[in-house]
């Protein structure tokens, strides 16, 4: 009575699906976009998380370029704007989309409901789209930015990381039945440095250097101010010592 045709049917479907699924850029874009579905007897919630890997960004840019028949210069300009919007120089961007078909979602304060695990440590976002704090009755999506560098040491957090895991708290919706949504991406072969090659990368690097220069100039000014204060105090002390010696 057992259904012996089932394994064969399963293999057929797998092969068929593998065949049906495939298209150069879409396959790359899909790879970095993951969806988790939650259901609670009448209510449903889909959460889609997209990790902006170098591969994903390149595929997005190339897809736009192909679609619009851009020249190399146009592509570079778009890429520059795109990278700048993503704050890649100091952030790890993730886009989160919520499709809610159940009671309203209340996710505020969103920054306390989402984390990124990198190399054994959990990080809260440094910034996020404030609309994610809204009451949500249908769909919403927004960017969430996690720190790319360690706050104390300045180390690149993704350097040497094999996987990253995004968590969204189960307390944002009762439809999730208190279960955390988890999204795992293998990033070992992803090379964000590659993004900064070419004209767009050079412009971004220039932006970053200008910012860094401004910061260093500010620090220099502070230090010079402090040095002036120290010098003034030294002069004051020396003057007082001279006065005392004369007494």
């Amino acid at each position: 009575m057992r259904k012996t045709w089932i394994p064969g049917f399963a293999i057929f479907l797998t092969l068929f699906a593998s065949w049906a699924w495939a298209s150069s850029y879409d396959s790359v874009l899909n790879r970095w976009s993951k969806t988790k579905d939650f259901a609670d007897r009448g209510d449903s919630l889909s959460i889609t998380a997209t990790y902006y890997s170098a591969e994903f960004i390149e595929a997005t840019v190339q897809k736009e370029a192909d679609k619009n028949l851009w020249t190399a210069d146009e592509l570079d300009r778009y890429k520059y704007q795109f990278l700048k919007t993503l704050n890649l120089e100091d952030s790890i961007p993730v886009r989160l989309s919520f499709d809610n078909r159940g009671p309203a979602l209340h996710m505020a304060p969103f920054g306390k409901q989402v984390w990124l695990w990198i190399g054994g440590k959990r990080y809260e976002p440094k910034d996020y789209d404030p609309r994610l704090n809204f009451r949500v009755q249908d769909k919403i999506e927004g960017m969430v930015y996690f720190p790319r560098f360690d706050g104390k040491t300045g180390r690149d957090l993704l350097k040497g990381a094999k996987t990253v895991k995004l968590e969204v708290s189960g307390s944002i919706s009762m439809t999730m039945k208190a279960k955390t949504a988890e999204f795992v991406w293998d990033v070992a072969n992803d090379n964000p440095e590659k993004l900064f090659a070419g004209k767009a990368g050079a412009r971004l690097e220039m932006d970053r250097l200008i910012k860094r220069l401004e910061k260093l100039n500010g620090e220099k000014k502070d230090l010079e101010g402090k040095l002036e204060q120290v010098k003034a105090e030294i002069e004051k002390i020396q003057a007082r010592m001279s006065e005392l010696q004369k007494q």
């Binding site: 259904k3 259901a39 209340h106 307390s171």
Partner: protein, 523 residues
């Protein structure tokens, strides 16, 4: 000092954000106005940022426009990480006070909804949501679906969720639910508490489901197969700890259920010894269910994005043995009262493993293997196996892969005597009356469940399901077909029309059909 700081901010911002008003000669916000202290306090607590240092050294009254410019700036820059409830209250109060100036500055408060809403979200207190569901069913006479008198119309659910974000470490969730003849009741009430070392605890009456990846749901998550062990809703009063780590998670819970003692005289329909015809006869039943604890632990691990495993364990530990007595009369050349005793040690546990292999983002293989350890109270009649097992294998393909539909193909085998610890997972297909004996499988059974779901667009969704129950007792074989069309009139209101059909050896009539129509409103 605070006032000076506030004025520094005023001047700097006016210079930066609203130069057109910088020369405004009307200093109409006196230095003793509460707004100075409010702005200074916001600046001191670091939620208003971005003021250049040393731009202003004096201490003069400001105009309302200048203060409004600060408020606009604060709305754009407020740092939610640092802002306390009091800070946000204050900022909101400033928005209200300077609303007309903000409007005049072109900073429409309505258009600033993002920031204003942020304030509302943080200080609004209790949050509400919920839904309402109306269902109408039509079926044959004397149907398996339990539809009274062919037709049944009911408001079968009113659900009201209440959430309170108490502080960064505590969230409170409460659900009131009624409908389908039940009065509104508190069905969930629990606190989510964050502890150091990334540990989270749920305390109270909460749902717990460790098998959510392994059962199919329709678009709304009901009327499909369910978990074999967990998916408690709610888990009776309990504590649940979670400790995530980089590539996995450890979870454990303990719950306690009060026992019960029932005494119930009733009339049963049956044959009394050596009587040639059926009559009603009285049965008096007494049952004692002892208190019990439920313990559970789970360790889940992701080797990478494509390979996930988990080990799970749940044990029901009763304080005493379960006992029951049936007393009924028998006529055998005179009337006798017969006593039938049942009982025994009904502790039992389930150990199971999970495996998920993602071939790519659209195709996954999932498998589960369960084994139970039953104490002697579960062993009677044909139930002689004290370690029944079950397994299921699933192929899941997303609509993105096939371009036309999602597919869920599930095959499961269940040993005779396997106990569904929490709830009947196949209740949607009337398993309770067809292949289960109370909470357990009465004969070796194979289940095939195929679900094809398709979202044609945002409005129209459909699914088709075929479930086949192949029971070792051939007379119990049966199948269930379901087809449904859903129209999403808005994201918060949808209508669903469905058809169900039962057939097979176990269905004593020539099939059994039901048509149902459901309306759901979310709020």
């Amino acid at each position: 000092m605070k006032k000076i700081f506030a004025l520094i901010a005023v001047a700097a911002l006016v210079a930066f954000a609203a130069p057109a008003f910088a020369a405004n000669p009307f200093a109409d916000v006196p230095m003793n106005h509460w707004a100075y202290d409010a702005v200074a306090q916001l600046a001191a607590s670091g939620i208003v940022v971005g003021y250049p240092d040393g731009a202003y050294k004096g201490g003069q009254p400001a105009t309302r426009y200048e203060v409004a410019a600060i408020v606009a700036r604060a709305l754009a820059k407020v740092d939610m990480e640092k802002a306390s409830k009091q800070d946000l209250e204050m900022l909101k109060k400033l928005v209200v006070e300077f609303k007309s100036e903000l409007d005049a500055l072109g900073v429409k408060v309505d258009k600033l909804d993002a920031r204003v809403a942020v304030l509302e979200e943080r200080i609004g207190g209790w949050k509400f949501g919920g839904n309402f569901r109306f269902t109408a069913k039509w079926a044959d006479d004397s149907n398996y679906w339990g539809v009274d008198d062919d037709t049944n119309w009911t408001v079968d659910r009113f659900r009201w969720n209440i959430t309170k974000y108490v502080d960064d470490n505590v969230t409170l969730n409460v659900r009131l639910q009624g409908g389908g003849g039940n009065s509104l009741d508190v069905v969930r009430a629990y606190a989510t508490i964050k502890f150091p070392w990334d540990i989270t605890a749920q305390v109270g009456r909460f749902p717990l489901d460790w098998e959510g990846d392994f059962y199919a749901g329709d678009f709304a998550g009901y009327m499909m197969n369910d978990a074999y062990v967990t998916d408690y809703d709610p888990l009776t009063t309990a504590v649940w700890f979670e400790k995530p780590f980089s590539m996995g998670k450890f979870e454990m819970f303990v719950a306690h259920e009060e026992g019960s003692e029932t005494f119930s005289p009733e009339l049963n329909w049956g044959t009394i010894f050596n009587w040639a015809h059926m009559i009603d006869y009285p049965v008096v039943t007494w049952e004692y269910v002892p208190d019990n604890y439920i313990y559970g632990a789970r360790l889940a691990f992701d080797f990478n994005e494509n390979f996930h495993v988990a080990a799970n364990y749940v044990k029901y530990d009763f304080a005493n043995e379960w006992a029951a007595v049936d007393v009924y009369p028998v006529y055998d050349d005179g009337w006798y009262l017969v006593h039938e005793f049942y009982g025994g040690d009904i502790d039992f546990s389930t150990l199971w493993g999970d495996l998920i292999v993602n071939f790519n983002e659209n195709i996954a293989f999932k498998g589960q293997y369960f084994v139970q350890d039953l104490n002697d109270g579960w062993l009677y009649d044909d139930y002689t196996d004290d370690s029944p097992s079950a397994w299921k294998a699933i192929l899941q393909v997303s609509q993105d892969a096939l371009k036309f539909t999602d597919l869920w193909i599930e095959y499961a085998q269940l040993d005779q005597g396997f106990v569904f610890a929490n709830a009947d997972p196949y209740a949607w297909a009337l398993s309770g009356s067809l292949f289960l004996d109370g909470p357990r499988v009465y004969a070796d059974t194979a289940v095939l469940n195929i679900v094809a779901k398709q979202k044609w667009n945002d409005q129209w969704w459909t699914y088709v399901r075929y479930a086949d129950f192949d029971v070792d007792d051939d007379d119990a074989d049966y199948y269930n077909w379901t087809a449904s069309v859903r129209y999403n009139y808005t994201p918060n209101l949808w209508f669903e029309l469905g058809y169900d059909k039962l057939g097979g050896d176990a269905i004593t009539k020539d099939g059994d059909d039901m048509v149902w129509f459901r309306t759901t409103v979310n709020f």
